[in-house]
Symmetry: D2
Subunit: 327 residues, 4 copies
């Protein structure tokens, strides 16, 4: 396929972790060209001045301006910054926006732009038709993927969830909780029962099971590793383990990145991939659902590229067949 037929993508906020991962994915994408990476503070510097691993892979430099000859723009900005950017920067209407912040996940609009919630496992067709995408949160992706089949079957009730996240989830700013000496071999929690992703999770679940009003109890844990999210949810459920497995397997049949495993899973099976793996257990009347993902890929930039593929009519898996780190 000649490069003249390639789609073109730009990135706003290319100096952070999600921006960096979007760059890495797009540089190797077979059908999309990385047209520009915008960063005010780094304008003129080569990408590898910030993302040092890219040395030898590209000579692209950070751009001070936003080019308009692109098909899609990724907003890899902090929460609140995406709205500010779109309010202050005119983007031609033909350009798709894929926003990785939480600014438009609950139905918010800006300058008339509406956003489809970019969780392909529940919204694939809507995403294909969408102009703009609100990419889901990292915890939100993993928790929802563990609950969607139950919601669709009307089986949700009070849910108890623990989620453990790698340090990349906290971004690259220097904080005491991201200091190596503090975090190595350490465990702590934050925003217990109060995580902001609960809103977008409940919104999706209620779209599938409108009467759902049970509590979503979520304990977020800071893990002492860089990458990946482990989620264990459980709830009361009358299904046998086999019935539950069949419910999940049918739901995810044909979804290219979300797979159901009848064997025990562990987090590193998905690190550095765009996959989500799900495993079930049943004890007494409780169904246990484990779901795992890479917080920066299926939980952020990988899913954003998956959404881009859908929005642009490309193969859903294009550029996302990634070798796991595994060890």
């Amino acid at each position: 396929m000649g490069t003249t037929t390639k789609k073109r993508a730009g990135i706003i906020g290319g100096a952070g972790y999600t921006g960096g991962e979007a760059i890495r994915l797009l540089l190797n994408h077979p059908d999309v060209e990385l047209a520009f990476v915008h960063s005010r503070s780094n304008a003129g510097n080569p990408l590898y001045a910030v993302h040092a691993d890219l040395i030898g892979e590209t000579d692209l430099t950070f751009a001070a301006d936003v080019a308009e000859d692109v098909d899609v723009i990724f907003l890899c900005l902090g929460h609140g910054e995406s709205r500010k950017f779109l309010e202050s920067t005119p983007i031609p209407a033909h350009i798709h926006i894929i926003d990785l912040s939480q600014d438009f996940r609950l139905g918010e609009t800006v300058n008339g732009r509406e956003f489809v919630y970019g969780l392909p496992e529940v919204n694939r067709e809507a995403i294909r038709q969408a102009k703009n995408i609100a990419n889901p949160g990292c915890f939100a992706t993993g928790i929802q993927l563990g609950l969607l089949p139950l919601a669709k079957a009307g089986l949700l009730n009070e849910v108890h969830t623990t989620g453990i996240t790698g340090s990349t989830g906290a971004g690259q700013s220097l904080q005491s909780t991201s200091h190596f000496t503090w975090r190595a071999n350490n465990i702590s929690t934050y925003k217990v029962l109060q995580h902001q992703h609960l809103k977008e999770i409940r919104r999706t679940l209620q779209a599938l099971q409108p009467a759902y009003s049970g509590a979503l109890n979520f304990v977020p844990v800071r893990g002492d590793y860089p990458r990946g999210i482990w989620i264990t949810s459980y709830l009361e459920c009358d299904l046998t383990l086999d019935e539950a497995y069949r419910l999940f397997e049918e739901f995810y049949n044909g979804h290219p990145f979300t797979h159901v495993s009848r064997k025990q899973i562990d987090l590193k099976q998905v690190v550095n991939t765009n996959k989500c793996l799900i495993q079930l257990e049943k004890t007494d009347n409780k169904l246990v659902i484990h779901s795992i993902e890479d917080n920066l890929l299926k939980g952020a930039s990988g899913q954003a590229v998956q959404n881009m593929n859908l929005v642009l009519g490309l193969e859903e898996t294009a550029g996302l067949k990634l070798k796991s780190i595994v060890f």
Copy 2:
């Protein structure tokens, strides 16, 4: 205090992790002499042939036989092995037994020996009078310390608990789940909702709150670090946060190793100490209790030495003022 007045202690099963920690504590204990360390497979070798960090600290060798001129014997054996040992080895009646296995935690006896459950925060006076001690499990210690004040106040109902443990909890045998390449940066769960410690936990809680029959839902997690247990439990509770804090502070007032923190805690505050720290949070009608400990110390050998101090009439904290690793 002259060494002639020192109490004497022996260790059965001194080659493993809990045996090694018992050795380290007793070598520095001001009032107790380490009389022998029994290990059939290592008899005749110096302790530092197995516990290499002890080089320069002791010239003691592993003993093939069990000396009888001791005041107390620690059984640092695998589950099931303590019972076998006591059934096959005559131990004079005057010697106290402190068993670290789970063999006698639920009221079991052997050769007429009865065992007091060695959780000083609830059984201190009984321990002082006891001949034999069943030392609590590591998860069991941390979970119970997080729930005891509520049980005493009759406030327990269904409890939701996540516990993350370091790899030392799995002992020193070579297994795929303790292989460095696998476990580094990895997360997994095991025995979800089915952990064997639930029995001893329920037994203690029901002694304080006899009518308690709520579910104890416990998700054990393998952490990717060697040492320490993080526990988060939550349940419905009408107390305000301040009321709950006062309930806990009153309960643990005067207990030398278990402390209530009104600031956020993190696991490394207790690693390499005999302490348990507890922190509370309140969201809507849910009370959240975080409790942390070192699984090999307060969760095993440290608590065993604490029990020995009580049984032998020594200062409860003797030999247990340990410098935390903290970083």
Copy 3:
């Protein structure tokens, strides 16, 4: 490109780390089909029964037999096992062998098969013409890439090298030195000044600088992380830093995976990639060379696929544009 035109590859010994990485690379290779993965002990099982991260990526099962309708076979066997395999298993002469063991790196032959040392940065043209390839050792690759330009310029003398390797370098067998509890946060050395890779390193260097007879002092270190090799070498050298940089930059100009960085490098820049990065420093009369690689990729299976590409006349980088883990 239709699949009918794809080359076909087989793997012998597909259950280990290097076999697993070869599988992962070949499953995503654009021009090569993974025809079979041989493993006696796992025959009939799906690949993901052993390499659990492959769930959802392939339904291929391990094969009991060696198919002959392939273009190339990778031997991912232990040292000594490759020779035994080739002595006992007739492989048709048209099939290329790429051996990852150390059995044929010093000019050894088997059944008349000769092997070209598969370090493309020095042997690219010979590799293109070769029937069989002896893939270099992991440490050997990194150390040589740090010294090749100096050898070619005749500037080598006594070399002082420290190499730190991740735990994957020791394979997946369960040993005390790969036990998580032992290795986490730990450092140790092995085979100090006696590592077996010194032979193949000296052989390559002497081919470039025939009079070279200086000592190669190599201190191998076990790092407490899974993946990657850091090498620092230094030697007396009269070049200025800039002259040295120009020597290295000229030498590696056009080599697709080995790059010279004038900025400080760190190991994670190359983890999960097939790259080698090199950085120089100069203090007094000593030239310092840092070289880094992923021990399982550029140090093993990645370089093997690179060699396969050369041997089969494919694009050298095909299937090897890998996203680094970086964080």
Copy 4:
């Protein structure tokens, strides 16, 4: 021993890592009372507001002023800050100063105060007579302890040293190289062949072997763990391995913290202790010396307390019988 007979110690700069470790050691010291901990920025706050692991151990608060009724003051300040402090703050002449910075290690004086270099293994008697101590650097301690016996025997020539340090060596300030996401699973070097400790090392070695003028080549490495220093040095040496071992064993005979091991050592044997372990190897004409220590204890605050014990006429090991973390 009654508290009335205890010596009294103060700490200047108690909010950092070395200050925190000094606090932890002094709180448990049998013969010394921690009289005050000075910290301008934290004055009035309890120690555990900064060193959270101390909750339940002390109610001491940070002091705004420097009390004068003490026997010894530890300066746990940054390099350059100790000199400034002593120039601006009058300290009564009877108070011993133990300075942990590098300000007085090369014979510098301030207000007429002279400092003895506080390496007991070479300067014990001078330390016992000293008013003020310049506590050695962390790398300097480990490297010197590996070379002292050779220097005394006049056997030093060009030395090649690699040292790997935990992140605590870099202190608690937030920097990109101490960011968890960056440093986890990563390796890098700094100040290669240019580390500032080389000066104090050479000074000590030349005191023992006056004619020594060989190069000290030192490659400092940032390890991806919090605590501990691993050092491997090698040099040409005609001694057999056994002769070398006997030289080292005789030299360190009677030294309570530095031990020679004829078995392979690993870093965690000394973490959280005040010990230094040394192991030797011999290959061809090269003698290899491994030496390990905890950078914050034998490499800083532990050695400072050891020096205090000597200066105050206490048992050298008092308060320093520490349980290693080991796992």
